[in-house]
Symmetry: C2
Subunit: 224 residues, 2 copies
């Protein structure tokens, strides 16, 4: 009731309501995005501090770039060289391991579908397991240089965090999951998402791992 009131009154300025139930924070990302990896390692701490839960929203930048006309960062002259330097520097600041993958960017459709499937499970520990899967896939790629573009690597990693591998394998090829992912990406674009990571807080979008401090300030003061 109080939450609805605050939201309805002024969409951009959300005051934290004492005693309100935990609300979410949507984290849109592509597994091929180094900035997505860096932010994925820090977002839960920020969310938790503000009584929010991270809702993992896998997406495919390739599909988004078709709409926006953008290209993978590393393909731009000059900007690409900066990006390669900055991926590493961004990770180093937060003491995160980071190895620039030789094959980059990669297709992440299998990883995205597996994640979408995981987060739709209804077992009591599915939220924790989905978060574990996101981290394991990202670290698999950016720390251990595992080829997460391959479905079998995704299945293996999902198994390592406790999912049933045969179920995951089936999910990656499942028509419903394929359709759902496409619809989710279309909805994300409709919302205004164009890059990875994008964090959505009550309709407000923040793009980039370098906006996490701003998100922290935004949630602290209730927006501006």
């Amino acid at each position: 009731m109080h939450v609805e009131y605050a939201l309805g009154l002024q969409a951009r300025i959300i005051k934290p309501i004492p005693g309100a139930k935990v609300s979410s924070m949507n984290f849109y990302f592509d597994y091929s995005s180094p900035y997505g990896y860096v932010a994925s390692e820090r977002i839960e701490e920020i969310a938790t501090r503000h009584g929010r839960q991270v809702h993992w929203c896998p997406m495919l930048l390739g599909a988004i770039f078709k709409v926006t006309g953008a290209a993978p960062l590393t393909e731009y002259p000059v900007k690409g060289a900066y990006a390669l330097h900055d991926f590493n520097r961004s990770a180093r600041e937060y003491k995160l391991d980071y190895v620039q993958p030789e094959t980059f960017p990669i297709a992440t459709v299998a990883a995205a579908r597996a994640t979408l499937w995981a987060k739709e499970r209804t077992d009591p520990d599915s939220a924790e397991k989905t978060a574990a899967l996101v981290h394991a896939l990202y670290r698999g790629f950016y720390v251990d240089t595992r080829p997460i573009n391959e479905a079998r690597t995704v299945v293996a990693i999902a198994g390592e965090v406790g999912f049933d591998t045969s179920q995951v394998e089936q999910a990656i090829g499942d028509t419903t999951i394929k359709t759902r992912l496409r619809q989710d990406i279309e909805a994300a674009i409709e919302l205004g998402v164009f890059g990875s990571p994008t964090i959505e807080i009550d309709g407000e979008l923040f793009w980039g791992s370098d906006r996490l401090e701003q998100i922290d300030r935004w949630l602290t003061v209730g927006g501006w």
Copy 2:
């Protein structure tokens, strides 16, 4: 001596040397860049805190985009809408006035040339006057919606901060200044500059007004 030693030893990790002379911080910007405006209002405070002086480096994104293949932010579908929202939100966070100009982006060659001319003056107060000119041009455009794409507006604003208007008028059309600006832009691209603002600290580049806190941390700990 000590400064050279620290720089030579490990280019990326610059330790502040007690007693070293004030060093600079290069601020590359285009007057048509809202993020350049936002950062211009905050960079001097950060520089001063770390014993550095801001060296204003006007450039033209149009010339850079020819090399990088990028386009003005607002021309990208989806991303453009985010940018328009974020320009204002970025300014609001720091209590800066911001009015989205109706004509945007604009040609800023006259403003860039005037600034380049100003910073090459050798009168004792030229550094202060150049900084004043940068702020007056940016605020003229983003606060008072003055058409700084027009040479006469640039000349008028330069006069308001204490420059000789006839000298400024002449400088805007001067062949040496034209050539110098083109060379400066080429050198900036060579260095790795591709967007506005880009802040260079001892060879390390930071792109975006959202990196000022990171710059502050970088200078505080001496890099990572």
